[in-house]
Subunit: 268 residues, 2 copies
């Protein structure tokens, strides 16, 4: 029934999920992608599970109307709160960022102590702890919310003394606790990688779930026999719920020239 | 037609406007107040004028249904983008925070050089510059957006080294330019007053528009013959569009025991 040439829907509260979209585009070069960034209601991190679920459902319904064959929730907070209900309510495959990140962390840890950082919503939900323990019950996990990282990235202060000071304050207790692997549980955080490497030193592995999520998307589409034909010519659409120009400017920092234009669509 | 015992509606994107509500409650002890905080869509600061106008209209319509006799826009960004349309579209008096703040700044300046800080939306709008020049065309104005201050206040880091470092980065160019008065053009910023005083030194006057806005509300209600009777017994309602418990916890930091409970109401 579903057309294999139908696009994959990818959504996020804003622009952070473009790190995931970029990996999907890189690893699945024949798949078309529709990206929705809910910039009119960003951020999801501090908001309640009910509200994030309501927003996620509205976006999934909109992507369904656009004819997507599968949905990637490219936002840790939305994955934490809404992956379950969307999987229950939708016919199509729904992929989140938490399980792939958890799997990569378990594969990477040498000492068996994994750190997880994310928004308040993601950390409070305990989604990473559950996903990690479902794979490997016998690891130590230390988690903490880092609510200032998203505004610092959006301010463009990815290499600023204040960001370094704040990162030290957030992460030194994790270093003291001797984590050996750190899950970047928010799609904005990969832009802080060089600074985080400085603060954490060379012995802590950084896990960015974008790559794993794209790989999981590939596996899922193949299993469901939904993958695009090898010769297919992909199309990309980017849609934001607020000011498309601002999205375009910020988005090109993440995606470069792949993003030619941005449409606007109001939800709610 | 309107009942003088009807409540005054006060709204903000979130909790910041409680600094204004508190002053209204203090200066107008017989007025009932309904406060609406749009916590499901906070912050307004980085969002487009169109989106902020749409949200403000929805909130004004909701407050209208609750029978308010007047509306105070206790949010600088919403005032900058929506005061005009709400004044046009509504029968009742609408008061914003920008004009009162501008008036207080003009009264306070000794050297004739006023600094203005606020969200990206407020600063981009130029609303303070227009309001200040309408009162006193012959002043110098230096304005800049300080987008990290709101998340820092919400993180509770009002006296933190990182906040001091960020405040210095934002404000030192204003000190170099020799401003003598600084308008805190965002209702979150009054919580940073002690730190800002440290950074700016004793010679710069800080203008917090809450007091002036409450005074303006009193004048407006009197002129419109809408003031509550001197013996009236006020009632207070607090409504948020997201998680009322979180609003209550954060809100009591601003308002103390006046806030006994918070209702939830979804908009949009």
């Amino acid at each position: 029934m579903t057309d294999n040439s139908a696009p994959v829907g990818v959504f996020d509260s804003g622009i952070g999920g473009l790190t995931v979209a970029q990996e999907v585009i890189r690893q699945l070069p024949h798949e078309s992608v529709i990206y929705f960034g809910d910039t009119a209601r960003v951020p999801y991190g501090p908001k309640s599970p009910d509200t994030v679920r309501r927003y996620s459902r509205e976006i999934a319904a909109f992507l369904g109307e656009q004819g997507v064959k599968s949905i990637v929730i490219a936002c840790n907070t939305a994955t934490a709160h809404a992956l379950g209900v969307l999987r229950e309510e939708l016919e199509m495959p729904v992929i989140g960022v938490v399980e792939p990140g958890a799997r990569a962390a378990v594969a990477a840890t040498r000492g068996g102590h994994i750190g997880v950082i994310g928004t308040v919503g993601t950390i409070k939900s305990g989604a990473y702890e559950r996903a990690i323990r479902a794979i490997e019950p016998d690891v130590m996990i230390t988690a903490r919310a880092c609510p200032l990282f998203v505004p610092l990235v959006e301010e463009g202060w990815t290499d600023h003394d204040a960001t370094r000071l704040i990162a030290r304050e957030y992460l030194e207790p994790m270093l003291d606790a001797e984590i050996d692997t750190l899950v970047l549980g928010c799609t904005h955080y990969p832009l802080l990688k060089p600074l985080l490497r400085d603060v954490l030193g060379p012995d802590v592995r950084l896990i960015d779930s974008a790559e794993e999520t794209a790989a999981e998307t590939a596996r899922t589409l193949n299993e469901a026999q939904l993958a695009a034909a090898p010769g297919a010519d992909p199309a990309y659409r980017f849609i934001a719920s607020d000011d498309p120009l601002q999205f375009l400017q910020l988005g090109q920092r993440f995606l470069g020239a792949t993003m030619e234009g941005v449409e606007i669509r109001t939800l709610g």
